[in-house]
Amino acid sequence: MFNSKACTAGLCLLCVVGALRGQDCHLPLRGHVVEAGSNEPLAFASVYIPEAHKGTTTDESGYYAIPNLCENTTYTVEVSHVECAHFTQMVRLTENAETDFHLNHNAVLQEVVVHEKATAPAATQAESNVSKADLQAGQGVNLGETLKRLPGVTTLNTGATISKPVIQGLHSNRIAIVNNNVVLEGQQWGSEHAPEIDPFSADKITVVKGAAGVRYGVGAMGGAIVLEPAALRDSAGWGGWVAAGGFYNGRGALLAGATDWHLPGSSLTFRVQGTAKRSGNLRAPDYYLGNTGLAEYDFSTMAGWKTRRWNHEISLSTFNQQLGILRAAHIEDTTTFGAAIRSDVPLNNRDEFSWRISRPYQLIQHNLIKYRTSLRISEKWKFSGQYAWQYNNRREFDAHPPLSDPQDLLHKSQLSFRIWTNSLDAALEHYPIRHWQGGMGVQAIQQLNYVGKGGLIPDYQTFGAGLWAMERWQRYPIPWEFEVGARYDYRYSNVTTSGNGNNNLDEQLQFGNVSGTAGAIYRFSHKTRLSLNSGLAWRPPHVNELYAEGVHHGSATYERGNPDFKPEKAWNTNLNFQHRDGRRDVSLTVYRNAIQDFIYLQPRQSFVRTIRGTFPLYTYTQNDAVLYGLDGSFSLPLTSFLSLESRVSMLRGYATKSDSASDANATAWLPLMPVDRFQYGFQWNGKGNEPAFVRVMAMTALRQTRYPAGSLYKAPPPGFTTLSLDAGYTFAIGKRKLELGLNLQNITNVRYREYLNFFRYYADEPGFNAALRAKYLFG
């Protein structure tokens, strides 16, 4: 970024003088000064620029800012602190960059590291990041359970093993899951289809809340979950990590590791990463949950190489999972269902520990091949292109093997869904030009969905195209920042073959719609900001909602689609307040999501007779709906060791126009809306930057009292409180590190059921669990 080798201070003074003319001189030099070993902020360090005759001292968080400097200019910066060596450094200024100085305490000759980082533009939308501690604690459990710790995020479960993230009440096809820059294309429509993601492959997880259609395309009505792998090693040599973990409940074990190899004398870097996981039957406080074992192995490899202007990256990954499904929940007729929901304990349950995964189970595979390239066209412009191929194969095995072909019983599944997706993305982005920063892009997608004959949904092939542009205005030191964006997407689908009762279907569907976003940020200071965002997003109805016709296993309902559905359109507005000052961190979001033509399952109070008996009829219904709520997260330091932690999620969802026969004055609550949740506890941190922490949190979920009348066989479960503990310690062994982690879930072994778990009719949630993890980082 800056050429400190060629420039001497004298030369640079000339550059500055030369550059002053006609230059925009509104930029700040800003960042943090920290102690190199411990990353502890250095307060009262002096930062001085002799060329500009300007200087300042850092505040208690180590932050400094020197305003009104000139763009694309190299300055000499002198940093000094009473306890550290004084030093001088050349820094060239660009917009949206922060310069951090890492000083060595009482070091005479040690090097000083300067980090110049381009700050990613702050989102105008509400966002939550999974903290390092939460990310580590979540490793070994699935993605949904990892995200559940964030405010505004909960999960929709089918038993203890299948968990789908829910953002502000929306899930499945209404949120986008973006893994390593690729939108995951699986069978997200199904409530028992969990995302095919290995949380170990992510180094950072961000949840974008609210309509994010412009950035992430069709479907991101409720938000997006963005997973980013660690950047490839940029210095020659080997490096990596190995992790192992053990789990008390389910007697699970996991092993994972990754290594990067950067070829000496070239820019070529390779990575291989793998995860293997195995666990047996989980245990609820009073009994084992028969057949809830899991087996998973994931593997990915990446290669990257850089030239002066090009940056190429290719990655391959495979995700393979076998998920046992609680045997007691496999119910295909109403008589058995009635008996099962009246019973307090699961019927037909094998109450014993076993590693064996028998029928019913799911076998899921997801493969991805991605090539991404970016080209720095000029100082200001950057091009990026990406091609991704995804293959998703989901097979579901019923409780009993098929009647036909007995010699081949165990290898046959009752349902199989396969999706092949090809997607091509191209974007042209620019760095700030007259304070505007942004870009535009195009996307093309082709998808083939193949279902075995007699499946729940028909086959289809989809072609889609999208076009987007997004710009952001920022001019230091003006406290305002603005963002606008628009996108148009088109989808064409050809739906063929047969589902149950839909023989000889051959339909052409076309959908096109606009997404938009507009946002503003107001900064009270560099610690406190208020942002407002309003966005439009949409999604076409899924073939499941259009053509479903049949009995839904596990819930003993007969589901029927409606081929006349229109696309869903969401208009989301969120206001977000954020204050970050050292360990004090307060974030509060209020939101309202108005959804036109919201599609959901509505009980019809009538019955359908099938050859397996009589089932209550549920039809997919389309109505306008509103979801609004509040998410908060608070971290308040009490002493220098202890802080108070709290997270709050509250949500209401109702249909504004309803065709149900219920009382016109009553609120038409939407089914399956998350209950209000409160997390509160304490976190203890070792003094300063000592690498130890202990956190004790309680989580209280209330009873759901707002649900459509007649939609449930059994009243929502009562509220509950669970207790958890996370602890971590990092040992430094030379340049290597050993991270140890312990986390305890449901410490008091509370018996409870979750409203958003379809298996709440059959069994309790798992009881006490303890997980112990070790991660060794080398190189």
Binding site: T335, H400, P402, S416, I611, R612
Partner: protein, 177 residues
């Protein structure tokens, strides 16, 4: 470098082949036709069919009324056949039920009509199955017979609540002449 390229290309094509291989091992099971085959004295030999060829909602099913003429004798042998008509050609599932007879049980419930049903077959454990039954005819009457096929019943001795899952649940009108 060249080597890397080749192996990458190879890996890509392998994945593509694996992905496109047609999976022929998946079949969805649909029982769409149940046949009651009655044979009695005096050459009585007749099949009565319960059929819903498209599966799903059975409000459009066609059901043959079972009529037992006076000439058919007092005891009749009954054999059940089960088919899946969503396959071409239609698949006969009866043999598979027989092959796995210890995890299957047919339960008969007669209402109104004077017909008694007795099991005439046993599984590997000596428990009843119900594919073969003997029907005993009484005085002239009308009513119905409900036939349920239970899969993986937990208690084959308890005909009121055998447990497991219902694979089919069909009712025929019955007339005893």
């Amino acid at each position: 470098m060249q080597h890397t390229k080749i192996s990458l290309a190879l890996l890509l094509s392998l994945l593509a082949i694996a992905g496109c291989k047609k999976d022929t091992t998946t079949e969805q099971e649909n029982i769409t036709r149940v046949v009651v085959h009655l044979t009695g004295s005096g050459g009585f030999d007749q099949e009565f069919e319960w059929s819903d060829p498209d599966g799903g909602d059975i409000s459009n099913a066609t059901i043959d009324p079972i009529v037992i003429p006076a000439t058919a004798g007092n005891t009749l042998n009954c054999h059940i056949h089960v088919y899946d008509d969503t396959k071409t050609p239609a698949e006969d599932l009866t043999e598979e039920i027989e092959a796995e007879n210890n995890v299957h049980l047919l339960v008969y419930n007669v209402t109104g009509a004077n017909v008694g049903v007795a099991y005439n077959d046993t599984d590997g454990n000596g428990k009843r199955v119900g594919i073969e039954t003997v029907w005993t005819k009484g005085a002239a009457s009308t009513g119905s017979v409900n036939i349920k096929l239970y899969h993986e019943p937990t208690d084959k001795d308890n005909l009121n609540a055998p447990g497991g899952e219902v694979d089919f649940d069909v009712t025929f009108p019955v007339t005893v002449q």
